[in-house]
């Protein structure tokens, strides 16, 4: 089954309702590959990087690093082959934007990859698609074959003499492979356990060669920036967070779905206007603004623009833009149980703080939910979470700690009520 187009569209998704947009001819009819042609024939790699830098584009995979800056880290004048990696291992709970971008607009992404390859001097792109995304992978494979057959990829891209190949690889079910060095290990045929940094991928990446890893959506913005200019791009979003993004709204809303909106759109507008609020006349209790790793916000703090400079003030982040909405019936300890089980299950196990910390948090969370917890458990949870932050090879451990801290910051009363009553006091909450 294919996905439907977003309810609100902008430049990334405006043609997604049209099946033809997924084909090469349909994409060309919308001006597709013109930006890549311009880059390859009229610009130098440095000029492309400057334009992307000037646009202020931030990576859309969760960390929000400046894309142009990342590209500029690739070494010049080396004899080694250089690679790009397109991270399509989307698995952050609450996120499903890349699935849509892969299914409905594969050539838009491939054009962004071509431009990135030209800018960084990469001869090959490894496109790593999560194993469960069988249908998106099929559609992208078809698009790659079409582009190769008609000279938009391969030995002589659009007659310019530039060579670029895209290799699609399917993952096999491991959240940690979305972490860029975990992905590189997986790409090399190993367990997806993240690498120590430095060296960073630009120096020692895929197969030991200089590599840049970008998210699917990040690549998708690039042709639009090259076609219409950095100044145009900055017309969307906030001063510090330009452009649009695809917000995925799920949970207790009338109209769950994807919404392409400028960064800086207020969270309450996304929940109540675009997604049309909570069903059954119930009230909202909390919203996770950016995928499961990002701390929750309570009902009273939804008047925040969805951009990192504002979300940070409320001790959370944009992440991958996955907005999960919970109504007033929701037990926040159960939410904690779902989150902590997930991180325990997905920890790759190589760092002690993460492997042990996620296990203990999960056990204590379940104990509190069963009504067998005590008041000290709440502080033990916070103590474990604090010791998991900043101590490990990758950010997974931090990502497992933050949601626990968020739940206890805003919903401590839910936890205390379980201890006080010796049972879960939310009989109408979603079932565990």
């Amino acid at each position: 089954m294919g996905l439907t187009a977003p309810y609100v569209t902008s430049y990334l998704s405006q043609h997604f309702a049209d099946d033809a947009f997924g084909t090469l001819d349909g994409y060309l009819a919308t001006g597709g590959y013109e930006a890549a042609k311009k880059a390859l024939t009229q610009l130098t790699p440095e000029q492309v990087i400057e334009e992307v830098k000037a646009s202020g584009l931030q990576g859309r995979g969760g960390a929000g690093f400046l894309t142009g800056l990342k590209w500029s880290f690739m070494p010049k004048g080396t004899d080694k082959p250089k690679y790009l990696v397109c991270n399509a291992d989307e698995s952050e709970p609450g996120s499903f934007k890349d699935r849509l971008l892969l299914e409905r607009g594969p050539h838009q992404m491939l054009e962004g990859i071509l431009i990135g390859a030209f800018a960084t001097g990469a001869e090959k792109t490894f496109l790593y698609v999560r194993g469960e995304y069988a249908e998106p992978a099929r559609r992208v494979e078809r698009a790659i074959a079409e582009a190769e057959a008609r000279g938009y990829l391969g030995a002589n891209v659009m007659g310019t003499g530039f060579r670029h190949d895209v290799v699609l690889m399917r993952g096999a079910g491991a959240y940690i492979c979305g972490e860029e060095t975990g992905l590189l290990e997986s790409l090399e045929g190993k367990k997806g356990q993240p690498r120590k940094k430095p060296p960073f991928p630009a120096e020692y990446g895929a197969f030991g060669m200089p590599t840049t890893v970008n998210n699917v959506e990040t690549f998708c913005h690039v042709p639009h920036i090259l076609r219409r200019g950095a100044a145009w791009f900055k017309g969307f979003g906030t001063d510090k967070s330009p452009g649009t993004t695809l917000f995925g709204v799920s949970g207790h809303v009338e109209r769950p779905g994807l919404y392409e909106l400028p960064l800086g759109t207020r969270l309450d507008a996304i929940v109540f206007e675009h997604a049309r609020g909570i069903p059954g006349g119930r009230k909202v209790k909390g919203v996770i603004p950016g995928g499961m790793s990002m701390p929750i916000l309570p009902a009273g703090q939804l008047d925040v623009p969805m951009a990192n400079e504002f979300l940070r003030e409320r001790k959370t982040m944009l992440g991958t833009g996955g907005v999960m909405v919970m109504d007033e019936t929701t037990c926040m300890v159960r939410v904690g149980c779902v989150i902590s089980y997930f991180f325990r299950d997905e920890s790759c196990g190589q760092c002690t703080q993460c492997r042990e910390g996620t296990g203990w948090i999960d056990k204590i969370m379940s104990r509190i939910e069963r009504g067998a917890g005590n008041y000290d458990d709440l502080d033990v949870l916070l103590d474990i979470a604090a010791k998991m932050e900043g101590q490990t090879i990758c950010a997974f451990s931090d990502a497992a700690a933050w949601p626990v801290q968020g739940l206890l910051r805003h919903f401590r009363e839910d936890f205390e009520a379980h201890v006080r009553q010796g049972k879960c006091p939310f009989p109408e909450s979603f079932v565990l």
């Binding site: 690889m169 399917r170 045929g189 197969f207 799920s250 997930f342």
Partner: protein, 163 residues
């Protein structure tokens, strides 16, 4: 010295040819290990110790290096599975919209718990972490295909329709 009879290859020549085509795409052979495991598993739904050993020979690594990869990734199986794989996503967005109730109903319907296979070998039932169908919850992944916007009745019908 008496030579032992050579065992029949555990990987078909057709699959072997596809593996060689994958190997050609990577700067180092081992890059094609995950693609190769997908191809081998496609033969009969799981990866045997013999097949793992043969892959190790192809990739010039130790068998344990193949086996640790198989065990690390959720989608690779080292033992026989049911003819059909049915997974319910039970992560938060799906749970908020009834996925756990759906899973319990399907467990009752099939008479197995998540993680088990029906006695007739027809269906392996399981739960999975987020599958990127958050706005279309609850959902099932059946033999790799997503079924979304489900309720218990629709889900039962899908299961009953599996051969």
């Amino acid at each position: 010295m008496v030579s032992e009879p050579k065992p029949a290859p555990a990987i078909t020549s057709e699959t072997r040819a596809k593996i060689d085509a994958e190997i050609a795409k990577y700067p180092r052979k081992r890059g094609a290990l995950l693609p190769a495991l997908h191809l081998v598993q496609a033969e009969r739904g799981w990866i045997s110790a013999e097949q793992a050993a043969e892959l190790a020979a192809i990739f010039e690594i130790r068998p344990v290096e193949v086996i640790e990869v198989v065990s690390f990734y959720n989608m690779f199986y080292d033992r026989p599975q049911g003819r059909h794989h049915v997974y319910v996503c039970t992560n938060l967005p799906c749970s908020l919209r009834g996925a756990r109730t759906l899973l319990a109903e399907l467990e009752a319907h099939l008479g197995v718990k998540a993680g088990e296979t029906t006695q007739d070998g027809r269906i392996s039932l399981g739960h999975e972490e987020c599958l990127g169908a958050c706005a279309y919850a609850p959902m099932l992944r059946v033999d790799g295909v997503y079924h979304e916007h489900l309720d218990v009745e629709k889900a039962r019908q899908i299961l009953d329709g599996l051969g």
